[in-house]
């Protein structure tokens, strides 16, 4: 398969995964570019055509997480001189919310929900995005995350538990 063919088949998948992580059009575009640059670099060595979707999913997830880590580090660096920041009191990325798949009437509610999801750890966040946002079957999500069925099930359970606490805390702070 050529890069153009791969782009034709998987660009929407990559772009949407990036959107679920960044919730921002420009950022998702940048992540999509990075994903296909890496796909282009590694595709010569990739033999297992049957697993190409899983492979592209993994690259998309890793590149999205890399992007968010870099942005977080940049933000931390820029506010280094400011007073200490408590992550639980701040709802990060709320103002950057620019998700083209979200309807206007649900924008506020989903911006709040994503701001809470963004406070989960990377693995819990990924499990939630794959299963609840991407609507993936548990088996497929488990394969992408290299986990057993039980593993993803418990990860998702912990994600929901933590999300419940974060949402309660954020609502309390809003008052």
């Amino acid at each position: 398969m050529t890069l153009a063919e791969l782009y034709h088949f998987y660009s929407a998948l990559v772009y949407n995964v990036a959107l679920q992580y960044t919730q921002n059009k420009q950022d998702a575009e940048e992540v999509t570019q990075d994903v296909f640059v890496q796909v282009n670099e590694k595709m010569a060595g990739f033999r297992n055509e049957a697993d190409i979707k899983t492979w592209i999913y993994r690259i998309s997830i890793n590149k999205s997480l890399d992007f968010l880590r870099a942005r977080k580090a940049l933000k931390r660096w820029s506010i280094l001189s400011a007073s200490s920041i408590d992550d639980t009191k701040v709802v990060p990325g709320f103002s950057d919310f620019n998700h083209p798949g979200v309807q206007l009437e649900q924008k506020e509610a989903l911006a709040f929900l994503f701001a809470c999801i963004n406070q989960l750890n990377e693995r819990q966040k990924t499990a939630l995005i794959l299963v609840r946002v991407e609507g993936m079957e548990m088996e497929e999500a488990a394969k992408i995350m290299e986990l057993s069925y039980k593993g993803i099930e418990s990860l998702l359970g912990r994600a929901k538990q933590n999300l419940k606490l974060i949402m309660a805390k954020s609502k309390e702070n809003e008052r």
Binding site: A12, T32, L110
Partner: protein, 91 residues
Amino acid sequence: MKDSTSNQQMENSLELLNSIQKANPPEGLFLKIEQKIDKVKSNLVPLSWIKVAAAVFVCVFSIEIYVLTNQVQTTDLSELIQTADNTLYDE
């Protein structure tokens, strides 16, 4: 009771995620990707250059070691310490 209510509330919130529609990547994104790939390629240092640089480094390092070890061999301790020669001229 309170726990089950909050669980239900959270499930209702998560249901909102189902309403998110799939978005299409912007036009012209593939062109940008191709440009980025070209930029990455032009920034890469060719492997032959790296090999030449490594060979030069090894040569310079070897010469340096050779020179240093030779200096130690020729430097005799007696040459370094000046011995006082008090013998008077016999006229």
